[in-house]
Symmetry: C2
Subunit: 333 residues, 2 copies
């Protein structure tokens, strides 16, 4: 039996929950969970905001742990090896997207907490291909958030060939944004943080920003017109998209990785005149996760975390719901 924490209705408190995972699939591994980060999408799923949630619902998709059991077909992982697991727990491995290294775009990719039980548990299972060894240089106690928050912001840097000469802005400095700043500084970019909390300015500069713009000050954003090759938006709120499009340089890209409540309203003229782009993306492929882990290890990039015991899971969720954790919450056994 696996001992987990589950909600039984939308927004319900998490309670101890046992389930029998059945026999281990040939292509699966079972992970002994050591820690699990808490992502905003755990909350969105808990409240069934996306209409995808099945109850009992076990959140958790930023898992660090050790391999407890190996399916017969898994040859590249070892019992006891320390690994991580993120949003995706499997993909078909045979479609054009999997075959071309874009496993995160597989049309039948399985989410770790979508129709499955996640990592708020003592054990969790996933397809071996989506379980990545954690480099020794990374601290297992804080590395969990790399596997969702981290790859979510690292992937577009790779996908869109961001260059060290680029001027990049990060909108929203929370769980995702504080990792984006670290990645982009190490990438060699000029990095600007757009933060709604000016009190964070000094911290944000230490994370990699060379300047901080108050995202609640429309004049400050207007003054940054034609400044950015890339604006990476981690916010999950509706923003004044036009003002950010105007802040892009010609050929610039506004890339969104946060789920915002309403459809985007995009004025076309500035897009045409400046050959500008709006895009979005989901996480990254296992290969990109591996590159990210290697890059993070070499550049000493790590999530800044606040730790709760698994038994405090409801307090931890309340902390995320009510404010701005600095910067990511992690549950630990």
């Amino acid at each position: 039996m696996i001992h987990a924490y589950a909600a039984h209705k939308p927004g319900g408190a998490l309670k101890p929950f046992e389930y029998d995972p059945g026999s281990l699939g040939d292509d699966q591994v079972e992970i002994n969970v050591e820690s699990c980060g808490i992502c905003h999408s755990d909350l969105s799923m808990l409240h069934n905001e996306w209409g995808l949630t099945q109850y009992p619902f076990v959140p958790g998709h930023e898992v660090i742990g050790t391999i407890a059991a190996l399916g017969t077909a898994v040859t590249d992982l070892q019992l006891g090896q320390r690994v991580g697991l993120g949003w995706f727990a499997g993909s078909c491995l045979t479609c054009q997207w999997c075959m071309s290294g874009n496993h995160n775009l597989c049309l039948s990719a399985a989410g770790t907490i979508v129709g499955r039980y996640g990592g708020f548990a003592d054990k969790v299972r996933a397809q071996g291909s989506w379980v990545l060894p954690l480099p020794e240089q990374l601290d297992p106690a804080s590395a969990g958030p790399l596997f969702c928050g981290g790859i979510t912001v690292f992937n577009p840097i790779v996908q869109f060939d961001v260059k060290p000469t680029d001027h990049v802005g990060v909108i929203g400095i929370g769980g995702l944004g504080h990792l984006a700043l670290q990645f982009l500084r190490a990438w060699g970019c000029e990095v600007t943080a757009f933060s709604s909390n000016p009190a964070k300015a000094e911290e944000v500069k230490q994370l990699g920003a060379t300047q901080v713009i108050n995202s609640r000050d429309p004049e400050a954003i207007a003054a940054a017109a034609n400044s950015f090759d890339l604006l990476l938006c981690t916010a999950n709120a509706d923003l004044d998209w036009e003002s950010y499009i105007n802040a892009l340089r010609p050929k610039g890209r506004l890339h969104l990785v946060g789920v915002v409540p309403n459809p985007l309203t995009i004025p076309l003229f500035p897009l045409i005149l400046g050959q500008k782009t709006i895009s979005a993306s989901p996480l990254g492929s296992p290969s990109t996760v591996a590159d990210m882990l290697d890059f993070a290890a070499r550049h000493h990039i790590a999530p800044i975390t606040e730790t709760f015991a698994f038994s405090q899971v409801n307090e931890a969720l309340e902390t995320l719901r009510s404010g701005s954790p600095r910067y990511r919450l992690v549950l630990q056994h």
Copy 2:
């Protein structure tokens, strides 16, 4: 004196109009106009839809003619040489965008009919760098529309590295779309036309489409889900953007080159899940125009035109206003 046709108020009829162009700038050339295409943006400017128009307003920015006079600094064109001129009549040549070959993104680029008198005239002037020699293999009587309509759809093919293996859809088969079909067939792509006029289907296939989807049939568009690497939208009407985003494959791009009346409403979820992109662009640089002309000459790509005498300019504009010319109108001396 230059003899032109000008409107004196928004939407006004064009009437003969003379003006003294003054002395020729060192970097300018004067063109003896032989023909000039009529673009939808001539109509938009005539009606001051974009708030950019100054009256008297002389439309015309798809000019074919011969060099009548050369400024002292223009060394790469010759008197009598046959040339073309499009939407842009000049740029600063010194900013980062001009210096990197992106002259069409120069923040101070001058539109041929924006604060200047255009090509509905016996002569027109422009900066020499924006006046391109017409290859001998191209028919001067029909080539004018390449310089605006043509480059508008050719440029994104170059800018976004469209591959011959790509599956591309062209939305709207008019002045721009009928050129896009020809370019994309010659590029090696699989080409689908989205047309609101099923009566055009046979013609559209001859232009390069391997299939035609009725753009007024939501079910037909829905059936094309996950099909296209690129959707090139030439329409200047508000469409159901979500249905076209769903028709993109993962990593697909919806690229707009027509000015649509209202801001785009873009649902974010399908953009995130499929790592999809929305973009737009204005025309192309002189270097890309030169590449297009060479490519058009090699592949026998030409606008299909209907010709009017310059003295019939108001009838020609009425024809464009009222319907769907097949496919581009050209005024001829």
